[in-house]
Amino acid sequence: MRNAIQSMLNAVDREAGGVAIILCPDFGLRDWLIEQVESLVPEEAQALWVSNVEAALAEPTRLVLLIPKEEREAVLDLDANRDRMLEEPARSQPIVLFLLRDGDGERALANEAPSLRSWISGSDADPEALAEIDVPNERAAFEREHGVTPEAWLTRWRSGELPETASNFRTAHNAMLLEDRGHS
């Protein structure tokens, strides 16, 4: 069973210099998802926020969080420029494009940008939709895997009882997502 965090991480992590898209239902959740991605990627990725494609292409060694002011323009520009990323020096970090669900960018992707769409196919996560759909299953899966509820696991985590390993950080994010949903 997929969960929101895994799908989002998988989208970002597919290729060293690829493109991932995160679909956001509103501005508030977009801000939250940007922070989530920024906190989940390793520090050496040196995540950077930009608002246009040229600025994203200019930083091939940093993970770029592209939050466009004009979504359609960004999608079409990325479609028209994506192969420039293959030229040496090839990108070593991905570009993560944040688009509003059902917005101009998503429409442009479906209607005008088949090349880019093909590149990101399967790497266009909609974490909120996944979280909405999967919460009961995710909570059950979490409990099966960890033997406790997300809230109980987080209590131990927040008290410093659990070591700060990469795996525990991921579990913590997963648990926080489920905890938030469980109480909303």
Binding site: M1, R2, Q6, S7, L9, N10, A11, D13, R14, E15, A16, G18, L76, D77, D79, A80, N81, R82, D83, R84, L86, E87, E106, L109, A110, N111, E112, P114, S115, R117, S118, W119, I120, S121, G122, S123, D124, A125, D126, S167, R170
Partner: protein, 389 residues
């Protein structure tokens, strides 16, 4: 267990001319292109769904033509913003690439004037302000004439990649008109967008007599699909730098740690998973590599395992199905169902172009006739309900 670098699959990266990773495919478009060019000089237009391997096949054709032609592969999209590409900028880029090939790789003796003109082209493309002695159109044609004359091969073939990304509109027509103004002796192979291949001006995109080659998704079903499945398995092994017999249960040997039966069962399970990914890919190499890259990544994320299990592949498929579902527009599902198994002549043109460009509808040859198939992931997307459709 050893780790596997799933990022090495690089689903978005085409293979370059002469690269060792190239895997020959049955009915290769690269072979067809090179044979056509060697037999005839009419321009060749190449099209196909995104991710089918057009760029790789063009690179293959360039490699195969090298001994008989000055075969110059110009990957315009590697250097240019294809939304803003102008005819003159395209001409300069072609002149630069063919000039580089002639001077640096083939070591042809070019006139001092042409060398000087090419230096200015490089400077211009590098952002410097220069004045050319002639217009880009004249400059390109004289460069092609001199290079043809100076060469042993006596023919120049230009293989232009990236024009499939130009937006629909008058600007794209200007680019094709610019190609039409090239000297007739120059052999052209051009990847074109779907709207150019099937749109209102489709009867002549560049020059009269041109021919269109469709790079089709591989057949991976039933007995007829055996070569396609074999190709994709080899592609996977090449990209992972694994030996050929990796999925062959007969080639397995037991060790002190793992019995022969266990080792065979493991190889068979891996092969089955790869074959499942092949079936879900619909024969599109990029989708196949994406599915395995994502499944491998899920395995690593969830269990720190090097090799995915069925659940990981299922979830990679689910991500792709979501992606396909987002592409469906109102009316698509009924239109797709109506077109499946036909040649698609009843489909509205705009819808057909969009669905074929995305690889939702795949054109296949059956008994010499063209038939549209629905991509299995797209089929799953609308079996579980399209978002808008």
């Amino acid at each position: 267990m050893t780790t596997i670098d799933w990022k090495a699959l690089k689903p978005h990266a085409p293979v370059l001319p002469g690269a060792a990773e190239y895997v020959a495919r049955t009915g290769s478009a690269g072979d067809e292109i090179s044979q056509w060019i060697l037999a005839d000089r009419s321009p060749l237009l190449v099209g196909g769904p995104a991710g089918v391997g057009k760029s790789t096949e063009l690179a293959r054709a360039a490699q195969m033509l090298q001994s008989d032609r000055i075969a110059c592969l110009v990957q315009l999209d590697r250097f240019e913003n294809m939304r803003r590409l102008t005819p003159d900028r395209m001409r300069l880029r072609i002149a630069q690439k063919v000039g580089y090939l002639a001077q640096e790789l083939l070591h042809l003796r070019l006139s001092a004037s042409l060398k000087n003109a090419l230096d200015k082209v490089n400077a211009d493309l590098g952002g410097e302000s220069v004045t050319h002695e002639a217009t880009p159109s004249v400059l390109l044609n004289v460069a092609l004439t001199e290079i043809t004359r100076s060469s042993r091969q006596g023919h120049v073939t230009l293989l232009l990649d990236g024009l499939e990304k130009v937006p629909q509109g008058p600007e794209s027509l200007e680019l094709f008109e610019a190609l039409a103004s090239l000297r007739d002796e120059v052999e052209l192979v051009v990847v074109i967008p779907w709207h150019a291949a099937f749109g209102p001006r489709a009867e002549t995109v560049i020059r009269t007599g041109e021919r269109f080659i469709a790079v089709r998704a591989l057949d991976v079903q039933s007995d007829a699909g055996r070569p396609g499945r074999e190709f994709l398995r080899k592609l996977l092994l090449q990209r992972l730098h694994w030996p050929e017999g990796e999925f062959d249960t007969d080639a397995v040997v037991g060790t002190e740690e793992v019995s022969l039966d266990e080792a065979r069962a493991r190889v068979a399970a891996r092969r089955n998973l790869v074959d499942d990914a092949i079936r879900w890919s619909g024969g599109l190499p990029r989708v196949f590599l994406q599915l395995l890259a994502d499944a491998g990544s899920y395995a690593k994320l969830r269990r720190s395992d090097p090799w995915p299990i069925v659940e990981d592949l299922n979830d990679a498929c689910a991500d792709q199905i979501d992606s396909f579902r987002r592409l469906l527009l109102p009316g698509d599902i009924d239109a797709i169902r109506g077109a499946a198994g036909t040649n698609g002549s009843e489909l509205e043109l705009d819808r057909k172009i969009r669905l074929m460009a995305h690889g939702i509808l795949l054109e296949r040859l059956r008994g010499g006739a063209r038939v549209l198939d629905v991509h299995p992931l797209a089929q799953a997307a609308f079996d579980t309900g399209g978002s808008h459709a």
